[in-house]
């Protein structure tokens, strides 16, 4: 062992006996002359050898390792290094199935601990020598470096090319069946008797715990849901492992929490609108209350922006932390901290108290509803179905290191490529999808298109944000009157009047900018729907594909939007909660109607109705599959489904679908 190795890794407590290098396919003796039976070496020994024996200065390039930009890059680096060691030793592995994941994981964890110990020693020595700071933050940061994602590293080093492959058997997508819903309904019957305390494992108690999710993850809700889902998975032979069941349970918590919080926040917004004297803000808040915080249109006039426009009423630090869905622009939290006053604190406390009351009330409404067991059953069955991908975009957005450091990655070919800010979004998306085992069932084409679509979407978002900021800055110089009007317009204040918002200019300008540009854009979108002659001219390079003609899309033209949305949601409710459904002319129209509302996002503000609508569509698709042998039904896109329905419509099949 070199001195440098000792310096970095520390002195080993004792040298272990050498472990024979393992060639997995190497025969041991033959049938005629069997060698004396020896304990079969573990497959993972070569890994232990690699990580213990090699001199760190040559193989791990510690300085380079420490300079890697982030956790993911370090995982890539470690995985690539071990993979190359494996290649050098010519270790062949037939597959990942018989690999001792646990043992290898332990080795890697020990390896990480060893690196950490030596890093600490190194840092302390350097600090003593005055080379670097020995501050706690520095040490903490450095000591977090050796954390190893043991599963990721193992998968990559085991693969044939060094790229991540998904060796575990593909998890069958959970399916929606009537028996699952019925079983869940049974399991979710509350058994609290009047005058009695709620039993510990009563579903009511679990739901009550959800109101604090995710701020407080209680063991109650997790245990209860995990037990229930495990029970269902066993009885229905669903191939779900513990982690997947846990993910489903978390998603259910989130759904229930959203339902409860939406109701509470909607009520709070209505109350706020009553108190609000500034007409524009008042109306905007009322819109948001009507639409719900999750509705697609509300995304344009998001809750956080409305809150900002309302003059700081909702500037609660706790609220900001808890309400990531608000889409609060980055950097605002710092401004809040900077300008926080006791007056603000008092406002927020009042706000939070009322929100707590309303949340309790919403929870009581949920648990005392006649549909309690139904609602919970749909929430779980929906989560089972979605189990994989639903919130990927959001998680990607949160993890996007836009404008941050650069680094390097390995391409499929094994050659390193430099990651620059220009392509960082792409690599981040790709990394995310690679690491998400739920994407293992996608074809290569689907994966590629998913990565590209996510990259383009996130890039356009960022560009639009920057453009909006630039235009507002330009207006300040070129059209000061209009700029002042914008300030007045969205802050609900005359700019000449002193207001603390004016001392937080950057903070407010961003909110105003977004709010007015999105208000204008949303209103303009309405305008386009009514235009009798609006059509996009063809884009030269794309040709006719871009001719968007306003055929039959002006469906919202004569009625106020909210009334129309409410009417549509009510119509969906009526359809999906009906006891029976017939595939006839009317039935086909209803199916298409429900599908269209889902696609338009009009049900997003009502998670439970959305669950039921999605279940309704799945039931109908399953029914069509069973009745008509449409083998590729799952792959049908909207047009394909409609086409199929058209054929069915012609044959006038009438069949009752069991109640959902």
């Amino acid at each position: 062992m070199s001195l440098f190795h000792e310096h970095i890794f520390g002195k080993k407590p004792s040298e272990k006996p050498p472990v024979p290098e393992v060639q997995l396919d190497q025969p041991v003796g033959d049938e005629d002359n069997p060698e004396p039976e020896q304990p079969k070496p573990e497959r993972v020994y070569w890994l232990r050898e690699v990580v213990e024996r090699r001199a760190i200065e040559d193989q791990l390039c510690l300085d380079e390792f420490l300079n890697l930009p982030d956790y993911n890059a370090r995982q890539e680096y470690l995985a690539r290094w071990i993979f190359e060691e494996r290649q050098k030793k010519n270790i062949q592995l037939a597959d990942g199935q018989s690999w001792d994941w646990q043992k290898a994981g332990e080795i890697l964890e020990e390896f990480a601990e060893q690196i950490a110990r030596n890093l600490q020693q190194k840092a302390e020595k350097e600090a003593r020598a005055g080379i670097v700071s020995a501050s706690k933050d520095f040490m903490k940061e450095k000591l977090s470096y050796p954390e190893i994602d043991v599963e990721f590293v193992q998968r990559r080093m085991l693969s044939s090319s060094g790229n991540l492959e998904f060796d575990t058997p593909r998890q069958a997508a959970p399916y929606q069946s009537q028996t699952i819903i019925e079983s869940l309904r049974y399991l979710f019957q509350p058994y609290q008797k009047p005058g009695q305390e709620v039993a510990e494992d009563d579903p009511i108690r679990a739901v009550e715990a959800c109101k604090k999710y995710p701020v407080e993850k209680t063991a109650q809700i997790e245990d209860f849901l995990i037990r229930t889902i495990s029970q269902i998975a066993k009885s229905e032979a669903l191939k779900l492992d513990r982690i997947q069941i846990s993910q489903v349970a978390h998603e259910v918590c989130q759904t229930i929490n959203t339902i409860i919080q939406n109701q509470a926040e909607s009520q709070l917004l209505k109350e706020t609108a009553v108190r609000e004297t500034r007409s524009t803000v008042k109306k905007a808040i009322r819109w948001a209350a009507e639409l719900g915080t999750g509705a697609a249109l509300t995304s344009s006039l998001s809750f956080g922006q409305l809150a900002l426009a309302a003059g700081g009423l909702f500037l609660g630090r706790k609220i900001f932390e808890a309400k990531k869905i608000f889409g609060i622009p980055l950097g605002i939290q710092d401004k809040i901290d900077e300008h926080w006053t006791k007056k603000d604190e008092a406002k927020v406390e009042t706000f939070e108290e009322r929100l707590t009351e309303l949340t309790d009330e919403a929870t009581r409404n949920f648990t005392s509803s006649d549909h309690f067991a139904d609602d919970l059953a749909f929430a779980v069955s929906g989560a089972l179905n979605r189990q994989l991908r639903e919130s990927v975009v959001e998680s990607l957005k949160k993890e996007m290191p836009v404008g941050q450091s650069s680094g390097w990655k390995w391409k499929e070919t094994g050659e390193p490529v430099m990651v620059t800010p220009d392509n960082q979004v792409y690599w981040s998306v790709k990394d995310k999808l690679w690491q998400d085992k739920n994407f293992s069932n996608l074809t290569d084409q689907q994966k590629e298109q998913a990565i590209n679509l996510l990259t383009l979407t996130l890039t356009q978002e960022d560009k639009a944000r920057v453009e909006a900021e630039e235009v507002l800055n330009l207006l300040r110089e070129t059209k000061p009157k209009a700029y002042n009007t914008i300030l007045k317009f969205k802050a609900g204040q005359h700019p000449k009047k002193p207001h603390h918002s004016l001392t937080m200019e950057d903070f407010w300008v961003r909110a105003r900018s977004d709010l007015i540009s999105l208000s204008l854009g949303a209103t303009m979108g309405l305008a386009l729907d009514v235009s009798p002659y609006f059509a996009l001219a063809a884009i030269p390079s794309v040709g006719d594909a871009y001719k968007i003609i306003n055929k039959g899309v002006a469906k919202i033209k004569e009625r106020p939007l909210i009334k129309e949305m409410t009417a549509r949601a009510n119509r969906v409710k009526e359809i999906v909660e009906r006891d029976s459904y017939f595939i006839n002319d009317q039935g086909v129209e209803e199916l298409k109607f429900v599908q269209e509302q889902l696609a338009l996002g009009l049900l997003d503000s009502q998670p439970m109705l959305k669950e039921k609508a999605e279940n309704f569509i799945r039931q109908a698709r399953q029914f069509l599959f069973e009745e008509n042998g449409l083998r590729a039904i799952d792959a049908l896109n909207r047009q394909g489904l409609e086409k199929s329905l058209g054929g069915i419509k012609t044959s006038r099949i009438q069949k009752k679908i069991p109640p959902a």
Binding site: A482, L528, Y546
Partner: protein, 107 residues
């Protein structure tokens, strides 16, 4: 999200050759792209409208419900010269950028 914008976004994804992306990702991206389109249109309007127009816009949306489509159309068509062409240009620019970037990613 209005029907026209929704349709535009769907066409955009299809024309970029990304229609085989998984349905849930397509849907999530379509929603986000629609918001981006709205924001771009709003920014275009910001450049075009003057102070008086903005005051009038305030009046337009100062009601209990969202403005009717017809009223919104008349508002913009009256105050933004060549309104339709400018909308088309905004959307086309976005589409061209999007498609070009999609092509670049495939290369």
């Amino acid at each position: 999200m209005t029907d026209t914008i929704q349709q535009f976004v769907q066409e955009l994804i299809t024309s970029a050759g990304l229609e085989q992306a998984p349905e849930d990702i397509r849907k999530a991206c379509a929603e986000r792209l629609a918001i981006t389109v709205h924001q771009k249109l709003g920014v275009m309007a910001l450049k075009e409208l003057n102070e008086q127009d903005l005051n009038n816009f305030e009046k337009l949306i100062d009601q209990d419900n969202a403005p009717e489509s017809k009223a919104a159309w008349e508002f913009f068509n009256k105050r933004i010269p060549n309104f339709q062409k400018k909308v088309e240009a905004t959307l086309q620019q976005l589409a061209q950028e999007f498609i070009q970037a999609a092509v670049n990613l495939r290369e």
